[in-house]
């Protein structure tokens, strides 16, 4: 009797396993199509697109990857994305964690007002201010620069808020021990709080990257030179660069997302934890 129930449960479990894995594989088909297309001659990408061969590199070649490197300065565009995101994330971690910490743990005049400003600005999306911000940055000489793609996004109300809510729960005993030893606020923060807050910093890093690495509208407005353009815009302009060669476009797409996927697989645990704090803890 119970042996039958166990068998039934096991069968159900493997049926579920099969259904979920098949659904996941189907969900990934567009990505498989891109990867397969990136490894076949340009003409075959479209001509084989209407059959199962669309998902298979029928005549494997690396020529598309070579073409991308030859036709555009891919290395430069990749480097641009790297610099911009490093600036946004690095600067943001410093500036927003300090503000979040002060707001959560210190008592001072103006604290309530600053917190109110942060919470109010949390609501303003980039899109709502992009047009005036564009003119502002133009006046400041920010067109076609890295800094105009970094500076506006370093201070981030959402990151301040995430740090703020994280530091509210930070154990006071650790700080007090340092305080008793006579350490300043800044030193306490750097030497005691930061080393014990890796999850908060990881979460903010991940959320910031997810929000900003795909940014398209802003660089579209503020840049016109390939020297400072990031990957998403690089791909979109490569798409319109004649001659239209789908194999090359697929290769560009693969090359641009491989770093993100590698980073994700390496930090998967942090990813999930980071996104979880954002969605659940609030």
């Amino acid at each position: 009797m119970s042996a039958r129930a166990t068998r039934l449960r096991r069968a159900l479990s493997s049926a579920r396993s099969i259904v979920v894995v098949v659904a996941a594989a189907v969900w990934l088909l567009p990505a498989v199509f891109v990867v397969a297309g990136s490894f076949k001659p340009d003409a075959l990408v479209l001509s084989e697109a209407n059959g199962w061969r669309a998902l298979w590199p029928s005549h494997p070649t690396l020529s598309n990857y070579g073409d991308v490197l030859r036709r555009v300065q891919f290395g430069r565009i990749l480097f641009n994305s790297f610099v911009i995101n490093l600036g946004i994330v690095g600067g943001g971690l410093v500036v927003n964690s300090l503000a979040g910490y002060a707001l959560a743990r210190l008592r001072f005049r103006g604290r309530a007002l600053i917190l109110a400003i942060v919470l109010a600005l949390l609501v303003v999306p980039l899109e709502a201010i992009a047009v005036p911000l564009f003119y502002q940055m133009t006046v400041l000489g920010g067109r076609d620069t890295y800094w105009a793609q970094i500076l506006p996004f370093v201070a981030n109300a959402f990151s301040v808020y995430l740090f703020y809510s994280f530091f509210l729960d930070f154990p006071r005993e650790l700080e007090e021990a340092a305080r008793v030893d006579g350490a300043s606020t800044l030193r306490t923060f750097v030497e005691v709080v930061v080393p014990n807050s890796a999850p908060a910093f990881a979460s903010v890093t991940i959320v910031t990257l997810l929000l900003y690495w795909g940014l398209y509208l802003w660089p579209l407005m503020i840049t016109s030179s390939v020297d400072v353009r990031p990957l998403p815009l690089g791909l979109a302009s490569f798409r319109t660069l004649p001659p239209l060669q789908w194999g090359d476009i697929m290769a560009f797409a693969v090359m641009m997302v491989v770093p993100a996927i590698v980073l994700f697989l390496a930090l998967q645990r942090w990813f999930v934890a980071g996104i979880a704090t954002v969605g659940v803890k609030r």
């Binding site: 709502a128 690495w213 998403p232 797409a253």
Partner: protein, 301 residues
């Protein structure tokens, strides 16, 4: 006791809490607060770059003009249409995927990664790639699927007035679902196991446990997911700019696409600012509704 020594004064100033908040505060005021104030201010003017007309305060004229502008009204309707479809569909799919990959089974790692990976792709990349998937004629992959299944005849998805918008929705859901799934999955895993146990002891079946335990417990993550999906729907721009340029006709134009076109191809900064403000009001409305749904939960819990 005497931690304040020679360098006391400088250290104390550097130690002032206000100073720690200053870099973030200045950045926020300069790059969010100021442009926002500028947007509101310019929306009351006739500012147009390169225009011979003198700069004038025109009051609400930009707004009344927007109300009468058929293209802008269509843009608002398109955004609402996009939100109305994408919010329920994407949330339901994300919830289904989260439930599917919760618990332990063989292939779980693969399934989770496969559902999530598109969320790592920038929307610009997804748009460029899906242009080929939507390729017109019998050669297009999606048309081939439709024909093989005998469901539809080859069509030109992105240039069809009726299909263009749903086509943008499909690729947006494909890209966006994974992130929502992870948020909901985290929510699922935060539900105390004993709630399920006691429901089981009360004789609740799987469906009843889902309705009476899972859904109420998942309320906050669900509200969060619904709100960010709705906000993304009103921010719709990248896909439109890359794939349809608002067309055919005005079938896929959006508030942001209109604002950017007004500002950059027609140099109408005043009009673009008014559009930005309208967009912002929608964002505030959605956020306020979301916060209310959030708070209710906190008080009943």
């Amino acid at each position: 006791m005497s931690s304040v020594r020679r360098s006391g004064r400088a250290a104390r100033i550097l130690d002032a809490p206000l100073l720690l908040t200053l870099p973030a505060l200045v950045g926020l005021l300069l790059f969010v607060g100021l442009p926002f104030a500028l947007a509101v201010g310019m929306s009351f003017t006739n500012l147009r770059l390169g225009s011979p007309l003198p700069l004038e305060w025109v009051g609400l004229e930009q707004y009344t003009r927007l109300l009468g502008d058929e293209t802008f009204r269509r843009a608002l309707v398109n955004n609402a249409y996009f939100a109305a479809v994408i919010v329920p569909v994407q949330t339901a799919l994300a919830l289904a995927a989260a439930l599917a990959v919760d618990g332990s089974f063989r292939g779980r790692g693969f399934a989770r990664a496969a559902f999530f990976i598109p969320a790592l792709f920038p929307m610009a990349m997804v748009a460029v790639v899906w242009e080929l998937i939507y390729a017109p004629g019998a050669q297009g992959p999606l048309n081939a699927v439709g024909q093989a299944l005998g469901v539809w005849m080859p069509r030109d998805f992105l240039r069809d007035p009726v299909l263009a918008m749903p086509s943008l929705m499909v690729l947006s859901v494909w890209q966006g679902m994974g992130l929502q799934m992870v948020i909901l999955l985290a929510g699922l895993q935060a539900i105390p196991r004993d709630l399920y146990e006691s429901a089981r002891l009360d004789g609740a079946g799987a469906w009843s446990r889902f309705v009476h335990v899972t859904l109420p417990q998942l309320r906050n993550p669900l509200v969060f997911v619904v709100v960010i999906t709705a906000l993304l729907a009103f921010r719709l721009f990248d896909q439109v700019q890359i794939l349809t340029r608002g067309g055919p006709g005005d079938a896929t134009t959006t508030v942001m696409y209109e604002a950017v076109t007004a500002a950059f191809t027609r140099q109408q900064v005043g009009a673009a600012s008014a559009m930005s403000v309208v967009f912002f009001c929608v964002v505030v409305l959605i956020t306020a509704l979301g916060r209310r749904a959030f708070r209710q939960e906190a008080s009943t819990a």
